[in-house]
Symmetry: C2
Subunit: 133 residues, 2 copies
């Protein structure tokens, strides 16, 4: 029996701006200066403001939802690693491949191997997402 083929997920992207980060700060209540104070952030080890960690993740949530035809279901597991900060001016796109896996007892699942990549082709996040089907 041949293994089912892997499938590419649709790629989604998000363009980051300080205005968007400011809106996200309001929305989340997370006003850490590293996100919202350009002067303080410039003097820090980051050298400028960085987006809240959730923001550059968003495109892969969108990719998964579009591919799946519904939102990420309860039970979904996510493993990821931050590789680089995301900053105002960055455009972050998702790249994902869904690999069917067998779970015994006829259970089916997919493991989605993904990366979030900026406009300089740097991986800012990489990870895997496992979803039971």
């Amino acid at each position: 029996m041949s293994a089912p083929a892997a499938e590419q997920l649709p790629s989604c992207e998000i363009a980051l701006s300080q205005a968007m980060i400011d809106v996200y700060a309001e929305l989340s209540g997370d006003y850490n200066p590293i996100h919202v104070d350009p002067a303080a952030a410039a003097a820090s080890m980051f050298g400028g403001t960085v987006a809240h960690g959730c923001i550059p993740l968003e495109p892969i949530f969108q990719s998964v939802a579009r591919w799946l035809g519904r939102d990420m279901p309860a039970g979904a597991a996510l493993r990821l690693r931050y590789r680089a900060p995301s900053r105002p001016g960055d455009v972050i796109r998702s790249q994902g491949e869904a690999r069917p896996v067998e779970r015994g007892e006829g259970g089916r699942a997919v493991v989605i191997v993904f990366a979030l990549i900026n406009q300089r082709d740097e991986k800012v996040i990489e990870g895997e997402c496992e979803i039971s089907l």
Copy 2:
């Protein structure tokens, strides 16, 4: 040698509303009806709108940043599982415990075991985050 003590992270919370979810849709470009169309969402298996997956995660990012005194660094690894959807009206709080671990060669890291919990004390997300110190 006794193991270093585990430490509780400060708890942070976020109150979800449809208005906030709508702002997040604009910010991310993710206008999936399950997030922004109450009528369509009510007719779906979810029975109503649910927050984008990133939103209920935000309190643990804040907890980690406050405890660490800086934003989650590059190299941080996150493993998490969605247990239940988060909806307008929910108040999601973070709970986390940092456990020091040795990484050999004198390397130090912490594993933060965390949960995001709603106002009915249901876990909506649980996971771990590993950060090198």
